[in-house]
Symmetry: C2
Subunit: 351 residues, 2 copies
């Protein structure tokens, strides 16, 4: 023991140190800790005492290698700075901790190449599963790195994978109908890009609701790109036209921010002169006025279902892929307002 004395100052104690001190086999220490096999009271006491004395903490790396499972889940999302994904990661970390899993976190920054690279390093770490919001609708790299995967928010249609996402088309209809019901007839939709199916679905819902209202000629889609300031610029330009829309429907968080910035930069009467319906809820939307009306994605439920699907997949690796759509809610606050009133007033004024 004196020989190992020096070692202990630098290296943490191992299961062999504990076993030697308790005069039992390493397997017995393992069994006391894991409870996988019953251990007699006497030995158990000695082992526990030795653990306490040495401050032994099992090396999970060794355990994972041997058990062929890491109790670790990878989370790969396109944008950690986006509150929608931040909230999802937050919820998932909670759920994972409850079930004894750790989270390996990676962000793709919306970049396909980086995403493929992160996918490779994540799977090299032998994650047990992956919760993945891809940068593109299709992820060819996924085939090269087989791991139980749940697609979240994006990539819903990728065949053979479990997936959970909002019912985006219904959300698009819900939002547009709300605006129509307020008397708006010129409703423009703003989005970052049409590259992703989830956005296209929202646009489709918007078109459907427009058609229902006999407004199919009025569809107008403004594409602003992936950052809020380019969205702002795109919206500003549109609002400067001779016949600007009376309502804006922002179909994602980034363009919501961009639309607000555009409206405020132009110093338009808001919501009197223009209504705005945003997408995704955030704390600040009920802080400054007007409180923002938005389509709320069920973030907590999306995280919970993603986690449940992954647990299910881990338990049953071979079952058929499950696809789940979750309904969004409409939060009517202050930024969407009746239009007819204003218009009539305007019409009655002298030119």
């Amino acid at each position: 023991m004196t020989r190992d004395g020096e070692k202990r100052f630098t290296l943490p104690p191992t299961i062999r140190d504990v076993a030697a001190l308790a005069a039992v086999a390493p397997a017995t220490v393992s069994n006391v800790l894991s409870g996988r096999r019953a251990v007699g009271a006497a030995l158990r006491e000695r082992v526990l005492a030795a653990i306490a004395q040495t401050g032994y903490r099992p090396n999970q790396l060794a355990s994972s290698l041997r058990r062929r499972r890491s109790d670790t889940i990878g989370i790969l999302v396109p944008d950690l700075a986006n509150p929608f994904f931040a909230a999802l990661v937050h919820r998932l970390e909670d759920l994972a901790a409850e079930d004894g899993y750790q989270i390996l976190l990676a962000g793709s920054n919306e970049d396909e190449a980086r995403e493929a690279e992160r996918l490779a390093t994540l799977t090299a770490r032998r994650i047990d599963g992956l919760i993945f919001a891809p940068a593109r609708d299709a992820t060819p790299a996924l085939a090269a790195h087989p791991v139980p995967t749940v697609l979240m928010d994006r990539g819903f249609a990728q065949a053979g994978f479990d997936a959970v996402a909002a019912d985006n088309e219904a959300a698009g209809r819900l939002g547009c109908r709300h605006l129509v019901s307020l008397g708006h007839r010129e409703i423009a939709l703003v989005a970052t890009s049409l590259q992703l199916a989830n956005i296209r679905e929202r646009v489709e819902g918007y078109r459907i609701a427009l058609a229902e209202a006999g407004l199919h000629g009025e569809a107008r889609v403004i594409l602003g790109g992936f950052d809020a300031d380019s969205c702002r610029a795109a919206v500003e330009q549109d609002l400067r036209r001779a016949e600007p829309p009376s309502a804006l429907f922002a179909a994602d968080y980034v363009s919501t921010l961009g639309a607000v910035k555009a409206i405020r930069a132009l110093d338009l009467a808001f919501p009197e002169a223009i209504s705005l319906l945003g997408f995704d809820d955030s704390d600040w939307m009920t802080a400054l006025r007007p409180y923002l009306s938005v389509i709320v994605q069920p973030v907590t439920a999306i995280a919970a279902r993603a986690w449940a699907l992954l647990r299910g997949r881990l338990a049953e690796p071979l079952g058929p892929a499950r696809k789940e759509r979750l309904a969004c809610a409409l939060a009517v606050r202050e930024s969407t307002q009746r239009w007819r009133v204003l218009r009539e007033t305007a019409a009655s004024l002298p030119p």
Copy 2:
């Protein structure tokens, strides 16, 4: 090889499979991949071909166990939903990826017991280092889980640890002086709690600036608790007094949100009737009006220095602890306004 044939469909190929196929020793495959030892061109070709053919990907768990380093860094923060910490995590993930490290992410939800538990599971995974924003100023649990650690934002004074944080006292002075320079004399400070030293430092800076202006009798600290709505309630109550402050200095992100909510819920003329200086920058603060004036913590620099300190500690485990303070900036926007003007106007009006 046919014996292993079946195996390959279920289990991923190992270094032995590659070695067998290339007719070399496993060590040679390892050397080709790591470059630690030179390998002759002929063998190298065969190894590369075998790797390509099998789709071999080294098991990092095994590699980590053998090399005694996981190339993984733990990040433990109190609140993943707070944009300040979300931004920090985002930046750190980028820096880690550049340097070939992975991130094990955990959140304490401001709970000491949970924090201790997460600390234990993180170190059990044999993280090489930890970047840690603790829930309390002192973290006794850290002693039980020795790992190269950099304290970030909080716990700055913990002896023996590298640490990086904003210069909070200077930030408090900077903010209060700004308000004083605008003619305010009744300046209340709002914060979540005085439990954390970083907040106390900001309050101290505020008091110093007040004293400099001969206003030491005017200090007024409103404590709102850890969520925005309880902050809102506390601020609302204060603003309803007979002699409400003319300016509010919110000393952290959560109370900034709470203060805005209070002002807006009361429908006060903002910023005419009351100025607000917030803390921590966020996208929405330049969206709705008035654009929020804030003290900006240098998030990118904090993350960069935390990462640099950790790399330094990993390279030089025994060096003395380094403590770094980073300066905050004042972003003057629209929510802080001259006070004297209004007051004089008010005084000249009939009661």
